[in-house]
């Protein structure tokens, strides 16, 4: 059976077919569609796969580890920066090891289409010392999910599954099959899960001991494929590839770039880079889709090549490792040497250029062109909130509004230009607090409802305990809007949460951000700025996108 699927959907269906029992995730582009697919899939429903959104990536990671503890297969999904949020649990899950298979999916966003950085999650996999899968195609994504769960259970370790935007959000036909049963309930019994120092030390030694098996699995993996070079005739009339030498062969002279019988260029192509390399028609390629790196295959490629180009989307993770494997005398090019751009995603053009292929001839860029950045929807409640904030802030020359992650980050752009910062989930409240501690007045934070429960509550508690002079605006549109309108963990609980954290009732206000209320809202903001302590104002009005969907039903 063939189905047209997004890369994310292929991952999701692959996990369902692999016998998944639960997916745990917080929405984040480009990973969101994985969990949404499972939530809406009839087979997943029939199998009772747990799929509700989590409050943040850390709660997701820990809950998935708990499901693994109980013997079942669990999947955690997040965008790359979510790995930072769950890093504590993630790294330690490699120390405890797993019982039921545990796959951690990180969707990286090179070029930052919808992100604050382009960190490469493969560093996290190396850091935690666990295997990484990195599919090249939607089909591979589907098939690999099952293998990832099997390897996880075989090794007793979590497996990291890395995709990038251009796979996550690209569709292709995928052959579906190989449905597996879900695991039986079978809780773990050992003491290895209790990471007291004495036990953790033993567990760490055990993790180190598994490295060889991980390396062997990658070496034997069909996803790490050294392609046969078609018969070619070299400069000296011999068939290329005839003369396979071992790396370190001392007959080879350093700097000799006319090695007899060698193909001029060997290419290591990781994940979707393989597609661009194939598009350009490169020969003599090692496709890498499973880590740790297949060292033998890399040495074999090096022996039959004069130099190596490493093509990888994201940061130069493999390029650095290949340098370490082959030594300083072997010429290796990639993002670090400038052969490929140091930042931004790969595409068929920059990869072809690195392979020495002349660029395609298109038309020159148009003259009558302007950038069209995204903007807040017409009628969006955040618009009214910014109108009110700007009006009051204009009365205070020292005012700063610290922003956060969500649709309302667009308040940084014209026509509002309200924000002074946007760093990470929750940083609005804590940065306002720190700035207020330093004497900044008025320090205003604006944060969305979903971001507040994700990472804003603890910062608010700090501010309350410190009696910091900040005004917090929780702009509540009753959904996680930026990623397409997923359920928001705190809906209908915000007043109770704030009061519970110690916000004084007289300094907690809920308002309806519509134009006729503008005067009342600005009066409240003004009053609370003047209050020396923590105030919370909650403008609450449904997101226009979800409102439209709800009114259709």
């Amino acid at each position: 059976m063939k189905k047209l699927l997004l890369g994310d959907e292929a991952v999701a269906l692959g996990a369902i077919y692999a016998g998944l029992s639960g997916v745990y995730a917080y929405p984040g582009t480009p990973s969101t569609e994985i969990t949404e697919f499972i939530q809406n899939n009839p087979l997943a429903r029939e199998r009772g796969i747990r799929s509700r959104w989590c409050t943040n990536e850390k709660t997701a990671m820990e809950a998935a580890l708990g499901m693994s503890y109980a013997g079942k297969r669990a999947l955690v999904c997040m965008k790359h920066v979510g790995m930072n949020v769950c890093a504590d649990a993630f790294v330690n899950s490699a120390i405890t090891g797993v019982n039921g298979g545990l796959v951690v999916l990180a969707a990286d966003d090179p070029s930052m289409h919808s992100s604050q950085n382009e960190q490469d999650s493969r560093f996290y996999g190396k850091f935690a010392m666990i295997p990484i899968f990195e599919p090249s195609t939607q089909q591979e994504a589907f098939c690999m999910m099952s293998e990832a769960f099997e390897l996880s259970e075989k090794l007793g370790e979590p497996v990291l599954f890395r995709v990038v935007t251009r796979l996550a959000h690209s569709r292709a036909a995928v052959e579906i099959g190989g449905l597996k049963d879900q695991n039986e309930f079978n809780p773990a019994t050992g003491k290895g899960w209790i990471l007291l120092p004495g036990i953790a030390r033993r567990q760490y030694v055990s993790l180190i001991g598994k490295q060889e098996a991980m390396a062997e699995a990658a070496e034997e993996s069909e996803h790490n494929r050294l392609e046969e070079i078609p018969d070619q005739v070299g400069d000296d009339g011999r068939k290329i590839g005839d003369d396979r030498r071992e790396v370190g062969d001392d007959r080879r002279e350093v700097g000799d770039d006319k090695k007899a019988g060698c193909a001029p260029l060997g290419v290591i192509a990781c994940g979707i880079a393989y597609n661009y390399v194939s598009e350009a028609g490169a020969k003599n390629v090692l496709k890498v889709s499973q880590y740790p790196l297949p060292v033998k295959k890399i040495k074999e490629l090096a022996a039959r090549s004069q130099n190596i180009l490493v093509v990888e989307d994201g940061q130069p993770v493999v390029e650095q490792d290949v340098k370490a494997i082959l030594g300083a005398d072997y010429k290796i090019e990639g993002r670090l040497t400038g052969k490929l751009p140091r930042t931004g995603e790969l595409n068929p053009d920059n990869v072809a250029a690195a392979l020495g292929i002349a660029p395609g001839q298109g038309f020159a860029p148009a003259k009558n062109l302007a950038a069209r950045p995204p903007q807040l929807c017409p009628g969006c409640g955040h618009r009214d909130v910014y109108n009110a904030l700007n009006k009051v802030a204009a009365e205070y020359p020292g005012a700063r509004i610290f922003g956060d992650i969500g649709c309302y980050t667009l308040g940084a752009l014209p026509p509002f230009q309200s924000l002074s910062s946007c760093v990470d989930m929750g940083a609005s409240i804590t940065m306002a607090k720190g700035a207020a501690d330093a004497g900044l007045f008025p320090a205003i934070a604006i944060i969305g409802d979903s971001t507040f429960t994700h990472s804003g509550m603890t910062g608010l508690l700090d501010a309350v305990n410190d009696h910091s002079n900040i005004t917090v605006v929780i702009s509540d549109n009753l959904t996680t809007a930026m990623t397409g309108g997923q359920d928001s963990a705190g809906t209908s609980k915000f007043e109770a949460i704030c009061l519970g954290l110690g916000v004084e009732p007289e300094h907690l206000h809920v308002v309806n951000p519509i134009a006729p209320n503008m005067e009342a809202i600005t009066a409240i903001i003004r009053k609370e700025i003047e209050y020396d302590g923590v105030s919370v104002i909650i403008p609450r009005r449904e997101c226009m996108q979800t409102l439209r969907r709800h009114s259709k039903k």
Partner: protein, 192 residues
Amino acid sequence: MKTDIILCGVGGQGILSIATVIGEAATQAGLNLKQAEVHGMSQRGGDVQSDLRLSTDPIHSDLIPKGHADLIISMEPMEALRYIPFLDADGTIVTSSKPFVNIPDYPDAEAVLAELDSLPHVHKFDIESLAREAGNPKGANMALLGMAARFMGILSAQQLRDAIGRIFAAKGDAIVEANCKCFDLGYGLQTD
């Protein structure tokens, strides 16, 4: 045989629905297909684009290399211009002629249309008015698809029309009929 298509417009104009219909038609026809979309932040009123590659042979890259697109299908004239570096020297542009102005620095509309006209194979029409007059303002994207059907090469108009039926079937016969009508009107246009 291959057809590389760039679909573009402004978030909310129904670009991804066009992609879905072409994808369905291609899958039914047994063609290979890759379709890269942009989700997330850019869907909020910003420029939206999708690379759609159809081929009888296997397709490697999800993205279209520069100078390789056979067809640009655009819901907005300036957005069509944005992607001309990807258009083949002999490629075709099918676009709405009606500027969507939601930015303060939108270039002179006459200049945008004139620059389009300076390119070799450009077909533009006010599909929004066409769809509105047909009583289905939301069908502008299907009218545009109808216009583009003449230049698709690898898929026939009938295959695309059938795909509209399957994609919108869940929304009822009236929606299918209205969308097919817009498609037919677009297909029937003799644009220059």
